[in-house]
């Protein structure tokens, strides 16, 4: 199996559409086309082997199922996973004559995905940095009151960033990658330090995403409590996320009512005791 220039170009376009930030809007782009499961479907169609594409997509999707990118913090780049990793994995699976749905094929796909996903974050930061140029042009237009220009800034120019950081890398890596993959595998064996480290990094990075979420939610030490309760419900009791959410509702209701009780309380108390109660504001700091 090889990847022609035409196939590689189409992959490059999908890479541009599905990036974070991508040219298709996050709903259709990153959250649909970018998901490896969908990437598997697309790559399968492009390379003409749907089954292998989907199988590779499923394997990679499992690794990135909870990928959140809070505040533009991207710990794995999905354009690379879905439109470089999956095609290359498909080539490698074919080259080794593995059955598409075998465990070995899935392992191969996973490792290829993590490899390009982690390394590929540089593409994300590249795109975002290049966009600074178009934003700069945008500010000038705003100053001049030339608002129509904003559409070009928001919808047009960023394609140039993607030409450099999505299209070309995808084009080259998928077209020439087929042979590179083989070379890579000998150069970087799975039981060598670099690959072991890479995969460990892949497993550790989601912690950053979760931690950024936490930062948005946690003000005082007590705000960790719901997090750990949720963690315990899922880790120790194997509750799934919908069930965890249901249980969280009763606590949400309690804290809502508590907060209302305390605030009404304070309103009521304020005129009587002259604000001496403010210290329970600090209840979080004990």
């Amino acid at each position: 199996m090889t990847i022609s220039w035409i196939q590689a170009s189409i992959l490059g376009i999908f890479a541009s559409l599905s990036s974070m930030p991508g040219m298709a809007g996050s709903t259709i782009g990153n959250y649909t086309l970018g998901r490896p499961l969908v990437g598997g479907l697309v790559s399968g169609l492009i390379l003409g082997d749907l089954k292998t594409g989907i199988a590779a997509g499923v394997a990679m999707q499992l690794v990135y199922i909870a990928l959140v990118t809070p505040g533009g913090t991207v710990s794995a780049d999905l354009r690379a996973v879905s439109y470089i990793g999956i095609p290359l994995a498909m080539v490698a699976i074919h080259a080794q004559g593995l059955s598409a749905t075998s465990g070995n094929a899935a392992d191969l796909a996973k490792s290829m995905g993590t490899l390009v996903g982690t390394v590929g974050t540089v593409l994300f930061y590249g795109t975002a940095t290049m966009n600074l140029v178009w934003q700069h042009m945008g500010w000038r237009a705003v100053e001049k009151g030339d608002f129509k220009k904003l559409y070009a800034v928001d919808w047009g120019y960023p394609w140039i960033s993607h030409l450099f950081f999505s299209f070309i890398p995808t084009l080259l890596m998928t077209h020439f990658g087929s042979s590179a993959v083989q070379a890579l595998k000998t150069a970087l064996p799975m039981d060598g330090i670099p690959m072991k480290t890479l995969f460990t990094v892949g497993a550790l990075l989601p912690c950053v995403g979760i931690a950024i979420l936490l930062k948005q939610i946690v003000d005082g030490p007590f705000d960790f409590i719901p997090f750990f309760v949720g963690f315990t419900l899922a880790a120790s009791l194997k509750l799934n996320l919908v069930s965890v959410t249901v249980i969280s509702l009763i606590f949400a209701l309690i804290f809502y009512k508590l907060d209302m009780a305390i605030s009404t309380n304070r309103q009521a108390a304020a005129p009587a005791s002259g604000g001496t109660l403010d210290d329970d504001e600090e209840e979080e700091d004990i």
């Binding site: 499961l37 934003q135 608002f147 928001d154 550790l204 880790a235 996320l241 809502y256």
Partner: protein, 285 residues
């Protein structure tokens, strides 16, 4: 302000504004101005309809040059609210003091974008999408395209109509939404939602993030008499995962280290861990 010439945004303009946001919220993203340009393009049709005179338009557009970033799906409600506030400002006269002004609008945007980012990232991106994906994965086992198609349809319908709903709900409620989202009751509601968010993020972390150690002590005959991971699990299941998350949080929240630097620290940790045999992903090609 006379009732005779009360300006109301046309449905067509609102639709335009919504679609500009739906499409363009992140396309021109940079680390400096994340969703600001998406916001600007979304407000443009609104401003153009409300103000005939160029000067007023410029004054209005200025408001939206402030930094903006939130979770784009749920955040649509903020765009809807500002549409309604802008309408109110136009009716009251943009140069009149008091009432809705720059400070009101940007205070609101700044006040809402944080919490809604937190909630949206955890509930939409961190929970809703993984749950739909989880179901889809089941359907695509064995290489069937069914799951992928299912995901595309379900998520995009939910995403599009959900965002649409949020936008028009926000427009409809206008500053009433602010009343609900800010103030004593708003504080209580945010507290309640943060509780859900916290528990769900905990659940997400425990379900989808897995940090495990491969450390073992073996006796002479090669039998492991201490499998560290098992010991840790018996103390608290998921201890290592929780520990690493708290570590990252601590580095960022308490030591003010940027996420990128934290990632680099993790690379070092991973390398050291691999070298001393603490980590070993145990994969093969």
């Amino acid at each position: 302000m006379a009732t005779i010439d009360k300006k109301t945004l046309s449905r067509k303009t609102l639709n335009k504004a919504f679609h500009h946001w739906f499409y363009g919220h992140l396309t021109a993203f940079s680390q400096e101005h994340m969703q600001t340009f998406g916001y600007l393009t979304s407000m443009l049709p609104i401003v153009e309809e409300l103000y005939d005179n160029k000067e007023d338009q410029e004054k209005a557009m200025k408001t939206y040059t402030a930094f903006f970033n939130t979770e784009p799906q749920l955040g649509t409600i903020i765009v809807g609210i500002t549409a309604s506030l802008e309408e109110a400002r136009a009716n009251q006269g943009i140069s009149n003091e008091g009432g809705v002004d720059d400070t009101t609008i940007n205070g609101l945007r700044a006040g809402l974008m944080g919490p809604i980012a937190g909630i949206g990232d955890s509930l939409v991106v961190g929970t809703l999408i993984p749950v739909i994906l989880g179901i889809a994965l089941g359907m695509s086992e064995g290489g069937s395209p069914l799951g992928a198609i299912f995901y595309i349809i379900v998520w995009n319908l939910l995403g599009y109509f959900g965002m649409r709903f949020a936008f028009f709900k926000g427009y409809e409620l206008g500053d009433k939404a602010v009343g609900i989202l800010i103030g004593a009751q708003g504080k209580a509601i945010r507290k309640a939602i943060a509780t859900i968010g916290g528990m769900v993020v905990g659940g997400v972390a425990a379900t989808w993030v897995t940090v495990r150690t491969s450390f073992q002590l073996k006796n002479s005959s090669g039998k492991a008499y201490l499998v560290l991971q098992n010991q840790l699990d018996s103390v608290y299941p998921g201890l290592l995962t929780a520990g690493f998350i708290v570590l990252c949080w601590w580095l960022m929240a308490k030591k003010n280290i940027s996420p990128i630097k934290v990632m680099l620290i993790l690379v070092v940790v991973a390398l050291v861990g691999v070298l001393i045999g603490f980590f070993n992903p145990g994969l093969t090609y």
